[in-house]
Symmetry: C2
Subunit: 423 residues, 2 copies
């Protein structure tokens, strides 16, 4: 017997038929003797409708009222799933954030989880009852409902798994796992059976939109094993039933600790992001405090700076400085920098929104050299020019012209030996 937290997103609970499929997945786990808590999102489209109403009611709205309105979406699905489960002979009850309670702090609309009372849920397990938990919501200050912000249901699920000391947190989603790279770019992309938290964190933040970065970070901190799997699979598929009973391999991709992965590949995956923009300041005076003069105002404006490169000039008095921001924030970043021109003191500002970031990721590179070298060589062989390079312990990222994105991803996928059979 295992204790599991299952999470289903908005497309998985989009209507009553889909909710019945979700219930069948839950029933399969219960029939195998597991204790199960389920976290659900709002029906696809519902949250957007509720957000639109709030925005339509007033441009500036009290975040506490927004939270009360928007949290109704998960309230509805949690009740409907509990009804459906009971109808299938699986005892269940719904739990709203305030009923558990799942206590939060911080800003409404983007609250952080502080504590989760497990007494009521443990009691439910003891009575053989499935706990259906409304995701995305908790209890804030003054007895108000607080929401966790976008992607909050993933976070709810992982936090719940941590609090309940669950054996695994299954995130049912519209893809069947994490791939070595985006399968839309190369049919030779392979599904990974396992990936470490660190790698998943890089994959997520590099644009593989399978799991919310925040929930992966929380899973890593609390060592919650997360299984990314498909909510569109047939719940009664014999292979799936066998995996549930432990007589076949788990489906999907398990996000886990490095120690649980026997043989680690040098490189696990190739990620890319098109939402990039480059700003170069030409002839910046190379004096103390100039970095603060540039990045202080950007931080104040809430603009996230990613890569930074500085070229020292020959005589050491002038420098060119290049950094990247998300494409969506390019205009805002430009106007912030232009507004601070006198304090910074630069000759010229050049920007380019037509760039992509390609990253090679793998915990194996901690103990191996030559990974970056192989990347530069593979790109050079295709005539792809590198604008900016940045590295961390487990990844190497480069900025290139957008038009080369697919070519670069495919070249690197092959170069690191990640190609599988063409799907």
């Amino acid at each position: 017997m295992a204790r599991l937290v299952l999470k289903f997103g908005g497309t998985s609970v989009a209507d009553l038929d889909r909710i019945r499929v979700v219930a069948a997945h839950v029933k399969r786990e219960v029939d195998a003797g597991n204790e199960v808590a389920v976290v659900v999102s709002a029906m696809a489209g519902t949250t957007n409708q509720l957000v639109d109403w709030c925005k339509g009611a007033a441009k500036l709205h009290d975040a506490r009222e927004y939270d009360s309105v928007v949290s109704a979406g998960e309230q509805i699905t949690s009740g409907l799933l509990a009804i459906t489960l009971s109808d299938m002979g699986v005892p269940a009850r719904s739990w709203l954030g305030w009923q558990i309670p799942l206590r939060t702090s911080g800003v409404h609309g983007a609250a952080r989880i502080e504590t989760i009372e497990t007494e009521g849920l443990e009691q439910a397990f003891a009575e053989g009852r499935v706990a259906v938990v409304a995701g995305f919501q908790g209890l804030g200050e003054n007895n108000r409902i607080a929401t966790l912000g976008r992607g909050g249901s993933d976070t709810s699920a992982v936090a719940l798994a941590a609090a309940l000391k669950a054996d695994r947190c299954d995130i049912y989603t519209d893809v069947d796992g994490v791939y070595t790279t985006d399968p839309r770019i190369t049919p030779r992309a392979r599904k990974l059976a396992k990936i470490t938290y660190e790698e998943m964190l890089e994959m997520a933040s590099q644009g593989a939109k399978v799991l919310q970065t925040r929930s992966v970070g929380m899973a890593m901190t609390h060592q919650v094993r997360v299984l990314v799997r498909s909510s569109f699979a047939d719940p009664d598929d014999p292979q799936l039933v066998a995996a549930t009973n432990g007589t076949a391999d788990l489906p999907g991709t398990l996000v886990c600790d490095e120690e649980e992965i026997m043989e680690q590949e040098l490189v696990t995956g190739i990620a890319y992001s098109r939402d990039e923009a480059k700003i170069t300041l030409v002839d910046v005076e190379d004096k103390p405090g100039v970095s603060a003069a540039i990045f202080g105002p950007l931080a104040d404006a809430g603009i996230n700076v990613d890569m930074i490169v500085q070229n020292v000039s020959e005589d050491g008095s002038m420098t060119d400085l290049t950094f990247t921001v998300s494409n969506a924030e390019l205009d805002k970043a430009r106007s912030v920098i232009e507004g601070a021109k006198d304090e910074i003191g630069y000759q010229n500002l050049i920007s380019d929104g037509d760039v992509s970031k390609i990253s090679v990721i793998g915990v194996g590179m901690r103990s191996h050299t030559g990974v970056a070298q192989k990347m530069f060589r593979a790109l050079a062989d295709r005539g792809i020019n590198i604008h900016v390079i940045s590295t961390s312990e487990i990844k190497v990222s480069v900025l290139i012209a957008s038009e080369y994105t697919e070519l670069a991803v495919r070249a690197l996928h092959t170069a690191y030996g990640l190609d599988g059979e063409a799907a």
Copy 2:
């Protein structure tokens, strides 16, 4: 300064435009220096959608889950109205049933209000804040959400007005008041400025669907003055503003204690109901216990019996017994009676679903005679045959063939001098 509870139903909050009109009504009261709590229903259509989902998920559903799902409707409107009010410069916050808390007991889906904590709401008033309360919902046992059943928002509003010792409870609805009879039947129907609780109770249960019977009963018990008024009136109409400031008569109809009505008419109104059916048992043995044998099984089956008439036969051994039930329950009532035929012992069962009940209502008839006599005369003059008669302290009801409904209502309206100018 007065303390007011305002209640707006589903059509009054059907979309953001309608919610803005509601907010303008609230603002008018606040600008006049009043302390205001507002009770809102779900947007028109939302509750039906949520109920349909619950029914679609399972034929038999846990009422606690049903309540959790369905209460989301009022949760949404309470937040949206609070946002709209704040946007108009009127400080406001939303209150869900569990946040007040408004404690309930009894069956989920049809819970009864037990207590209402007023501390939080009083605090809100002290801070000059409007309390926007989600109607129809409260906190049940085990920290679960409970709903009050259909029409529950009227009950929420009256109960809240009683707990807050409000000066008045304004029910904004899609009619502009209570009329001497249904204006669709006669254009000469007049709007009543005031009506007593007792009369309103009869008018409501007799088919004038302005206020829920349950909320009128509660208003009478707790002496809450209820004003029935139109939610479609222009909130900034000078006449309405004057009424708010106490320099003009109140709009709508005030439901209040008899003492507050200076000059009482003999008859206040004519009500009718087409949802009636008559069952006659021919040749019932006239022995002790026969009534129990008939009405016991009907009560057990949850069937509400209204009028009962018994004719004694000449020799006193046999009797005919006639009673009425709602038309919707006729088939059920027939099969209950037929199933108990042996215990009851009757010759024949005759039923008629094509009947209407017409009632003449007025507290004035307590101290005057001849009211019934005038009714029988007016109907006889039009050749309308009376099947059954029943009377109470303040009303006389007769059962007639349905086809005469409008004719009877118009004749009685004229006979009791209720006709006004044709609208």
